[in-house]
């Protein structure tokens, strides 16, 4: 029996009142009140590596003076009850999710020491994604990964770290790579990432190595204290019970079997990263939420518009990229500024991918019920597909604004009045196809008088910061209005070239 295991046995045997060879760290509770019975001893099996790992962690916390700053995240596994023992803040997390949980704890309390303590099933199987991403983000936490090559808590099923040929209740003939693949090397895997600051694998197999483990654990906590970054210590650890071995033999098995398969090494050891990081601008809540008073004047509308409707509905349709949704939003914003109740409902999803888009605009003097419009008062059809698809929905006596010089030859006239306006060409002449929607807006306002051109300009002024673009928009709006004036009012173009009544 080695020196070390003698000491272990002594400590385990010493009942209250006997001489203690090793003092218990004050980071452990004196009496384990949270345990239902046997409150003087842990629930771990004799010789279990968890006990040793706990002790090393508790002593490091004590030595570094971190006890009242530490938050310990316990996983699901044999160490699920770590909170029985550690007299620190404790959070118990779902199976495998401790790194996610610890991530948010650390970001909520950046000055605190956050420990994620996990088994191999927890970390390397069900929680693979969480550990990889926490490591990859460089979360400033310490992860202690207890690798005992088996599922302890659930009674000896295969772990991702189970050795080739090792028997378990779910690999009854030994782990076969053809069926179960090879043991997962988490320390190596994580050290392929850029962010981790410290990655080391240690083993609880003899005194010398336990001292190394002690240093590694300390190092991980120092790193966190100093804000260095993500620290990961993989601890090869005996599970005598499931392995079916005496504690001493189990330790030997760690040395003889686990260590060759999982080489001990410092895979990463980086100093504090001092490269500057950019911070987002800081603004007040009222600014960010756009509820500061200074915008108020911009939105006040000088002229009160006596809207001629109780409710007025507009459908805008066309290809994605034609500014269909934007035109709808502008009209909605205008309605709002004129003191109306408004709603804007876009088509979204697969329809958008295929290139067509439409939206429903509802202007109302009263609270709006359905924002979906089955029969709009106006259809703005920016392409032929939209005209064909939606023209029949327009209410009798409604208006259709069609973005072309003339209707398609075979098009059956609907009950609504159709106004053909070559808005794209007008926009092109103004120097930007993009203002096609604004030309149509001008035509809409002139033809229906549903909203005021002044409101349109005030909305455009708040939305468009570039003066030259704003100027084109102003011209586009005017051009759309003029088109209606000169063509409809004067009646220069006759149906079916321009109009269909």
């Amino acid at each position: 029996m080695s020196q070390d295991s003698k000491a272990m046995v002594k400590e385990a045997e010493a009942p209250a009142g006997y001489e203690t060879v090793h003092a218990k760290s004050p980071v452990f509770y004196d009496i384990y009140e949270r345990k239902a019975e046997l409150k003087n001893q842990t629930h771990y099996c004799p010789g279990c590596g968890h006990g040793v790992a706990h002790k090393l962690i508790a002593e490091a916390i004590e030595d570094l003076g971190l006890q009242n700053r530490t938050i310990f995240v316990s996983p699901v596994g044999c160490s699920v009850f770590a909170y029985y023992y550690f007299d620190v803040g404790n959070v118990q997390a779902a199976h495998g999710r401790a790194p996610a949980c610890a991530t948010a704890i650390k970001r909520t309390c950046p000055e605190k020491i956050v420990i994620s303590y996990q088994g191999d099933g927890d970390l390397a199987a069900i929680g693979t994604a969480e550990i990889v991403h926490a490591a990859n983000r460089g979360e400033k936490i310490a992860v202690f990964f207890v690798n005992n090559a088996i599922y302890g808590m659930t009674g000896g099923q295969m772990a991702p770290t189970t050795l080739v040929g090792q028997k378990s209740t779910t690999s009854p003939w030994g782990r076969r790579p053809v069926n179960e693949g090879y043991p997962l090397h988490m320390a190596e895997l994580l050290s392929t990432l850029e962010a981790p600051a410290y990655v080391e694998r240690v083993a609880l197999c003899d005194n010398k190595n336990i001292m190394k483990a002690r240093r590694a654990i300390r190092r991980a906590l120092e790193n966190q204290r100093d804000g260095v970054g993500f620290s990961f210590v993989e601890i090869l650890s005996p599970c005598p019970t499931i392995w079916g071995k005496e504690p001493v033999d189990a330790r030997r098995w760690v040395l003889e079997k686990l260590v060759p398969a999982f080489p001990l090494n410092v895979f990463r050891d980086r100093k504090l990263d001092t490269s500057p990081s950019t911070m987002p601008p800081q603004r007040t809540v009222t600014d960010v939420l756009e509820i500061s008073a200074k915008d108020e004047s911009a939105q006040r509308v000088a002229v009160q518009h006596p809207h001629h409707f109780r409710e007025y509905t507009i459908k805008v349709a066309g290809f994605g990229g034609q500014g269909v949704l934007l035109l709808g939003q502008l009209l909605t914003e205008m309605g709002m500024r004129e003191g109306l109740e408004v709603s804007w409902l876009p088509s979204y999803g697969p329809e958008m991918r295929s290139g067509s888009a439409h939206c429903h605009v509802c202007l109302s003097k009263e609270r709006i019920g359905s924002p979906l419009i089955s029969h709009p008062d106006v259809l703005i059809a920016m392409n032929e597909i939209s005209l064909r698809k939606f023209a029949s929905q327009v209410v009798p006596g409604g208006v259709i604004l069609y973005n072309r010089e003339r209707l398609p030859a075979d098009f059956a006239l609907p009950q609504a009045r159709v106004i053909c306006i070559p808005a794209s060409e007008i926009a092109d002449k103004l120097g930007s196809t993009k203002v096609t929607n604004i030309v149509l807006m001008g035509a809409l306002l002139e033809e229906t008088e549903c909203l005021l051109p002044d409101t349109a300009m005030s909305v455009l002024e708040t939305k468009i910061k570039k003066l030259d673009l704003l100027e084109i928009d102003r011209q586009a709006l005017a051009a759309g209005r003029n088109f209606i004036d000169s063509h409809v009012r004067v009646g220069a173009v006759s149906q079916p070239d321009g109009f269909a009544y």
């Binding site: 938050i71 404790n90 996610a100 909520t108 983000r137 603004r283 979204y348």
Partner: protein, 362 residues
């Protein structure tokens, strides 16, 4: 001052007003704008935004942040919510307050991204394992997306329980005027949280109760809390219910369509009213019983194959005939469609009545 705002964005604005400075999420249509708005706004007011590697991670981050005392939220849609269910169960078990938004899309499976109300069972009835309830609020406008999110934070803290904002693709994507008023938010003290301080050193956040008696006690405590919520938190809205022959019942976007259908019916002299549950859990059963006490028929309309209708039937317990009208797949009934259905029901109802009157008395 009114601002034109998208429903999904309004959620984040309501959250910030409520003092939420932590958001952990994962993108999914039609809820992505929530995550995007959170990414844009929350860091600017000094908060934490993190795009998680999955919804599983996101909800466990929410668990961690809530355990540390933060007002925290996440948002997703059906498939993401399915992944979060284990975490929600843990959050309920550990009695952690948080807000979770579900902008419901078509299911099951990948379904589609159009609006549905088919997550009612999953959110209102639990969805995860074990005995627990979520508090569930159902906004029907952009304004309510903000206001009910703020309320959700308050209720979550009041009951130390997950609160869900159950919206749908349409309410999320819509733009309407939003009026916000700045006020200092005062999240309550959370002496139970684990903050890494001497005062909270003895605290434990956990949902394990190994001893059957302990777990039973814990569940009785939860049950008592749920009872309290059932007594004080039901919220609903009535529209033209006073003299109604037919009472329409619907929540979220559907309630908007029903409201228009009521108007259409009333304009033709048909007596139709609307009952809109605002809290889906606790369900406003008593108020519904009252509203339905004088009607001849109740018609529940949902964007589902019939989920909330079960709660309506439970509440009314056979006192009034309860009928159902559902559309799914992203199809949303038009006002005309609902009105026509109501008319058909009315004529059957009156016909039956006439026949009843004409029957010779035995």
């Amino acid at each position: 001052m009114r601002q034109l705002c998208k429903g999904n964005v309004a959620i984040v604005k309501g959250a910030i007003l409520a003092g939420c400075r932590s958001f952990y999420g994962y993108p999914i249509t039609p809820a992505s704008e929530i995550t995007e708005a959170a990414a844009l706004y929350i860091p600017q007011v000094g908060g934490t935004f993190l795009q998680a590697e999955s919804e599983v991670a996101a909800i466990n981050m929410v668990y961690g942040a809530a355990a540390a005392g933060a007002r925290v939220m996440t948002a997703s849609s059906g498939p993401g919510l399915s992944l979060m269910q284990e975490g929600i169960s843990y959050i309920a078990g550990a009695e952690l307050p948080c807000v979770i938004v579900d902008v419901v899309r078509g299911g099951p499976g990948l379904g589609n991204i159009a609006p549905e109300q088919s997550d009612y069972f999953a959110m209102v009835k639990g969805g995860g394992h074990g005995n627990y309830h979520n508090l569930v609020l159902a906004p029907a406008s952009v304004q309510e997306m903000a206001d009910l999110t703020t309320l959700a934070f308050e209720l979550a803290d009041k009951y130390r329980n997950p609160a869900i904002v159950l919206a749908d693709g349409f309410i999320g994507q819509m733009m309407e005027p939003l009026e916000l008023e700045y006020r200092e938010s005062a999240p309550p003290e959370k002496p139970w949280a684990v903050k890494g301080t001497p005062e909270t050193q003895k605290n434990l956040i956990s949902s394990i109760y190994l001893e059957p008696d302990d777990l039973e006690d814990h569940q009785r405590k939860l049950e008592a809390k749920y009872k309290r919520a059932q007594q004080t938190e039901p919220r609903w809205e009535l529209y033209d219910t006073g003299d109604a022959d037919i009472l329409l019942v619907g929540y979220g976007i559907t309630s908007r369509i029903l409201r228009s259908a009521v108007e259409a019916a009333r304009s033709q002299g048909q007596r139709v009213g609307l009952f809109r549950p605002i809290t889906l859990w606790p369900f406003p059963s008593e108020a519904l019983v009252k509203a339905a006490s004088t009607v001849r028929e109740v018609l529940v309309v949902e964007l589902s194959n019939g989920q909330m209708v079960e709660d309506v039937r439970l509440a009314l317990n056979g006192k009034v005939p309860v009928e159902f009208y559902g559309r799914t797949g992203g199809n949303v009934p038009s006002v005309e469609e609902i009105h026509a259905d109501v008319l058909a029901r009315m004529s059957v109802m009156f016909e039956r009545e006439m026949l009843g009157r004409m029957m010779p008395v035995q």
